[in-house]
């Protein structure tokens, strides 16, 4: 109880003044200074070339998805390992073997991803 209240108080202490400051500091934006005249005339500068999506070409959408799925699966697995490592000594040989059995499919999946080149940038 006291822990969560302390966290909430700290959060409020930082975020409320920071947000208020940003709102107040942003209020004057764009309202002062000479009004900008919207001109319909085309700019004398030629239209800028669209910037490339990345330094090396298009954003790799498909591999990003694969990476995201791989990440989700592995992350969930690693989080499931956390309680196991905490009680690992008490669990004895059964814990050791079951941990290895749990990790085995993941390791196979990881090796598969690696071999298929999913980890190459």
């Amino acid at each position: 109880m006291a822990e969560s209240v302390g966290v909430l108080i700290l959060f409020a202490l930082i975020s409320v003044p920071a947000c208020l400051y940003l709102v107040i500091a942003g209020r004057g934006a764009g309202s002062s200074g000479p009004a900008r005249e919207e001109s319909a005339a085309p700019s004398p500068a030629p239209a800028a070339k669209p910037a490339p999506e990345t330094a090396r070409g298009a954003v790799p959408g498909a591999s990003l998805l694969v990476a995201a799925i791989a990440y989700l699966v592995l992350q969930a697995a690693v989080l499931l390992l956390v309680p196991w490592v905490l009680f690992f000594v008490e669990l004895g040989p059964v814990g050791l073997v079951s941990g290895a059995l749990f990790a085995l499919p993941l390791l196979v999946g990881f090796a598969y991803l690696w071999r298929r080149g999913a980890l190459d940038g």
């Binding site: 302390g6 959060f11 004057g28 990881f110």
Partner: protein, 391 residues
């Protein structure tokens, strides 16, 4: 449960929260910012900052961070209100808040008994300390991604890199931390330090491993049971993975000035950018604090456990004062170790050129993760052989 524990002491907690926030923002961040620039200048053979003077007081450039902060906070947001970018700067407040709140689970000292009660310099002694910090950092990364995707193309490309780097770094960091959690058997950072506040004998552990059956405490050669001595590989992996996770240099490919300008922070200016700069310095401090607590024994003084220290001093001046002195000593020791780790991080940042994005990802997936898996298997085998951690 007594009413005292049911109704938290709001005033006390607020005072603690206020002092933590003030200590971090008014002392920690300016010092880190100053040390960062001074160390980089010294390593690169430049004179560095030192010219800023307020009323002819320069303090070797220590006032420069203050001047920077004042400049950023007093700048006006250049976006007109109708652009809708005004709301976006609020994200920076959320990033800053999440980073500060992550410090609430960092213990700054052990627990000391004063008469009836006890005192510990920690705002929120949460059961799952490490995971709590991870969750807040994930929240802050999520908010940064959210804000970055609303910016221009450079900002969005930078945000893609940031998202990929944070996700990979987080996985590597979790894996690299698992062997330490195995040894300590707890997620609470205070417990980890209490565990390290003892000594172990590496020779005893090795003779046990080799089947010699030597007793752990019977051997005279004792070393502090710090994480870095128990598992040096984990230290290297965690330091690297945490730097990747938080995008500390040299793993900040999303902020390559020549290519992406400010990357995900490209659409921020003025106070918003100032808050993000504060959060970045705090993240450096947070990594240093985590590494200090997990690998360098936190506030523990080598060969002088808390109980012994209190007992020895207490014989002369009484238990109450002995506990107070112990608290002060431990706080100073922790801050000294913390400064050492911060300096190590600054050294790494200055010595290494910025990594390419693809190389950072390859480092995460092809080096850090397999190495962490090997470390887990090795630690599991050793602990299993020893029947517990050699504490």
């Amino acid at each position: 449960m007594s009413p005292e524990t049911l109704v938290p002491n709001f005033l006390g907690l607020t005072a603690q929260a206020l002092s933590l926030a003030l200590g971090l923002l008014a002392v920690g961040v300016p010092l880190v910012a100053w040390a960062e620039r001074k160390a980089a200048a010294r390593i690169e053979g430049r004179p560095g900052i030192g010219g800023t003077a307020i009323a002819e007081i320069s303090l070797d450039g220590m006032l420069q961070p203050l001047a920077d902060a004042l400049k950023l906070l007093s700048k006006r947001d250049p976006n007109p209100p109708e652009s809708g970018q005004g709301v976006q700067v609020l994200f920076s407040a959320l990033v800053l808040s999440a980073t500060v709140v992550a410090f609430s689970a960092i213990p700054w000292s052990g627990r000391y008994v004063f008469g009836e009660g006890s005192l510990s310099l920690i705002l929120a002694d949460v059961e799952m300390g490490v995971l709590f910090i991870f969750a807040l950092l994930a929240f802050s990364a999520l908010v940064t991604v959210w804000a970055g995707m609303r910016g221009g193309i450079r900002s969005r490309v930078g945000t893609f890199r940031l998202a990929a780097r944070s996700l990979s770094g987080e996985l590597a960091l979790l894996l690299a931390l698992l062997p330490m959690l195995m040894i300590y058997g707890s997620l609470r950072l205070g417990d980890m330090v209490a565990w390290q506040d003892a000594s172990f004998s590496p020779l005893g552990a090795w003779s046990l491993l080799a089947g010699g059956g030597g007793s752990l405490s019977g051997l005279s050669l004792g070393l502090p049971a710090w994480g870095i001595l128990l598992n040096p590989l984990a230290f290297i992996l965690v330091l690297t993975a945490a730097s990747v996770r938080l995008g500390l240099a040299p793993f900040d490919a999303e902020r390559r000035e020549a290519e992406l300008e400010a990357g995900p922070h490209g659409s921020f200016s003025g106070p918003g950018l100032g808050f993000l700069a504060l959060a970045a310095r705090l993240e450096l401090l947070l990594v240093a604090a985590l590494v200090t607590l997990i690998f360098f024994g936190g506030w523990a003084i080598p060969w002088l456990p808390q109980a012994t220290l209190v007992a020895v001093i207490g014989e002369f001046i009484g238990s109450w004062l002995a506990n107070a002195i112990c608290l002060g000593l431990h706080l100073v020791v922790f801050l000294l170790k913390l400064s050492g780790v911060v300096f190590l991080e600054l050294l790494i940042r200055s010595a290494l050129p910025r990594f390419d994005h693809a190389r950072t990802m390859a480092l995460c997936w092809k080096i850090l993760m397999p190495a962490a898996l090997v470390d887990i298997a090795f630690t599991a085998a050793v602990l299993f052989r020893l029947g517990g951690a050699p504490g």
